[in-house]
C-alpha cells in the first residue's frame, strides 16, 4: 500500500476508534434527532394528517440541527491537542486527509441518522415508499451536511463561541439540501416522482464533494497560520 492510502485509512480508522471510545458524542447527536422529531406530535397535536404532511420538513430540519451539534468538535479536539498541526505537516495532500476526517464524521453522525429515520418516519405516519425516498434523500443529503458543515467548523476554529458562529454561517448554506430533501418526500406524498429532487441532490453532493475539501484545507491553513 502506498503512503497516501495508508495515511487516509489511518486517519479514518483513528477517528472511528476515537468515536468508539467516546461513544456519548455520537449518541448525543442521534438522541437529539430522535427527541426533536418526537416533540412535534406533542407540540402540534396528534392529528395524523397534519403530522404526515409535516413529516418531511420536520425530519429534515431535525437532521440539520442534529448535525450542527456535532460540527464544533470536528476539528477543535485535534486543534487543541496539537494533532491538527501534525496533520498539516503530513506530506500527504491536506484536502484528501480532510476528506478522510469528514468520511469518518459522516459514518459517525450522518449514517446513524439515515438508519434511524424509517422508525421516526413511521412515527409520523409516512408509508413505505415515502420512507424509502426519505432514506435515499438522507443518504445523499447527510454527506452534504458533513462536508458543508466542516467548512464552517474550519473557519471558526479556535474562536470563542465557535459553536454559535458555525450555526449562523452554515445553516443558510444548508437550505438547498433541506429544500431538495424535504421536497423529494413531498413529491411522492402528492403522487409525483421524486426523481428530479434526488438527481439534483446527487449533483449537489458531487459538487460539494469536489469543492468542500479544498475550501476546508484552505480554511485550516489560514486558521492555523
Amino acid at each position: 500500500m502506498n503512503g497516501l492510502a495508508t495515511a487516509l485509512i489511518t486517519l479514518l480508522r483513528r477517528d472511528l476508534i476515537l468515536a468508539l471510545r467516546r461513544r456519548q458524542d455520537a449518541l448525543v447527536v442521534l438522541g437529539f434527532f430522535v427527541v426533536v422529531v418526537s416533540l412535534f406530535p406533542l407540540g402540534v397535536g396528534p392529528d395524523p394528517q397534519l403530522l404526515r404532511s409535516m413529516a418531511p420538513g420536520v425530519l429534515w430540519v431535525s437532521a440539520l440541527l442534529a448535525t450542527m451539534l456535532s460540527l464544533e468538535r470536528l476539528f477543535s479536539d485535534d486543534f487543541r491537542d496539537g494533532s491538527l498541526e501534525q496533520i498539516l505537516l503530513s506530506p500527504q495532500p491536506l484536502s484528501l486527509l480532510v476528506g478522510s476526517k469528514i468520511l469518518a464524521h459522516w459514518l459517525i453522525t450522518g449514517l446513524p441518522l439515515v438508519l434511524i429515520s424509517p422508525l421516526l418516519g413511521m412515527q409520523l405516519g409516512l408509508d413505505g415508499t415515502e420512507i424509502l425516498i426519505l432514506m435515499t434523500a438522507l443518504l445523499l443529503g447527510t454527506p452534504i451536511l458533513s462536508l458543508v458543515g466542516a467548512i464552517g467548523a474550519a473557519l471558526t476554529l479556535g474562536l470563542r463561541g465557535g459553536g454559535v458562529l458555525i450555526s449562523l454561517l452554515i445553516l443558510p448554506l444548508y437550505v438547498p439540501a433541506l429544500v431538495l430533501g424535504a421536497g423529494a418526500v413531498d413529491a411522492v406524498m402528492y403522487g409525483s416522482s421524486a426523481q428530479a429532487h434526488l438527481s439534483l441532490m446527487a449533483a449537489l453532493l458531487i459538487l460539494t464533494l469536489l469543492l468542500a475539501p479544498w475550501a476546508i484545507a484552505a480554511a485550516l491553513r489560514i486558521m492555523l497560520d
Binding site: 495508508t6 496539537g82 494533532s83 501534525q86 505537516l89 506530506p91 486527509l97 492555523l224 497560520d225
Partner: protein, 218 residues
C-alpha cells in the same frame, strides 16, 4: 539507556534567506538569514514575544513569512518533490497525543500520517528506549505529563526526519526526562541530523551548536 541510532542521515543543508516576519502588524524579524548543516544544533534565543515560535512555525511551513525563503538542499521548501514538510519533524507546545489511544496506537498513527508506517514491535522498542516499558498499551490519559512528553519524543525518533524543530522541548520536564531528551538530541546530532530549538534553560548538549538571538535590533 542506549540511544544508538540505526540511521545516519545523508548530508543535507537548510538555508534561510532574507526572512521578514510580521505578526499582528508588528515587525518581529527583519532580514534574517542563516544556514544549518548536518550534525548542527541551532538554539533560537530571545525574550518573550521576540518571534521564536513564529520563526519555528515558518521553518515548518505552518506559517508564511512576509518575505524571504527557506531552502532545503538548495531548493525552496514549497518546491520540494516530496512536499514542503517531508524533511522535518515538529514538536510544539502540545504533545499531539490522543488521550483515548495508547502510546503505541498514537505512535503508529502519527508515523503513518507522516508517511512512515511502523510495526508494533518498532513502536514498542522506541517506547522502551524512552523508559516507558510496560506502559505501551495504556491509554495516554493515564500517563503523567512527563510520560506523555516521552511518547511525543518517541514520535521524533520513529518518523526519522533529518531536521527536528522543537519548541521549548525542555519546558516543564523533570530531571529524568530532560536526561532522556538530551541523549536523544545528542544521538540525532551524531547521526548527522539537524536540530533547531527554543529553550529558556541551558542544557549542556554535546555537538556543534550555535545560538541565534532574536529581537536585538528591534
Amino acid at each position: 539507556m542506549s540511544h544508538a541510532s540505526h540511521v545516519v542521515f545523508p548530508a543535507h543543508r537548510l538555508e534561510v534567506e532574507g526572512l521578514v516576519v510580521e505578526r499582528g502588524e508588528r515587525l518581529l524579524i527583519r532580514d534574517l538569514g542563516f544556514s544549518l548543516a548536518g550534525g548542527e544544533l541551532l538554539q533560537v534565543a530571545g525574550r518573550n514575544g521576540a518571534g521564536k515560535t513564529s520563526l519555528l512555525r515558518i521553518l515548518c511551513g505552518l506559517s508564511r513569512p512576509l518575505e524571504g525563503r527557506v531552502c532545503w538542499d538548495g531548493v525552496p521548501v514549497q518546491h520540494q518533490e516530496e512536499g514542503p514538510t517531508a524533511h522535518l519533524a515538529y514538536l510544539g507546545h502540545a504533545n499531539a497525543l490522543k488521550d483515548e489511544l495508547s502510546g503505541e496506537e498514537n505512535l503508529r498513527i502519527q508515523s503513518a500520517l507522516q508517511g512512515r508506517g511502523v510495526g508494533r514491535d518498532e513502536a514498542w522498542e522506541v517506547l522502551g528506549r524512552m523508559g516507558l516499558g510496560g506502559h505501551e498499551d495504556l491509554p495516554v490519559k493515564f500517563l503523567s505529563q512527563g510520560q506523555k512528553r516521552r511518547v511525543a519524543l518517541a514520535r521524533l525518533l520513529l518518523v526519522r526526519r533529518p531536521l527536528w524543530i522543537l519548541d521549548e522541548p525542555f519546558a516543564a520536564l523533570d530531571v529524568q526526562v530532560i536526561e532522556v531528551l538530551r541523549s536523544a538530541l545528542e544521538a540525532h546530532l551524531a547521526a548527522n541530523g539537524m536540530i533547531i530549538l527554543t529553550t529558556h534553560q541551558a542544557v549542556p548538549i554535546e555537538g556543534r551548536q550555535r545560538t541565534l538571538t532574536l529581537g536585538k535590533a528591534a
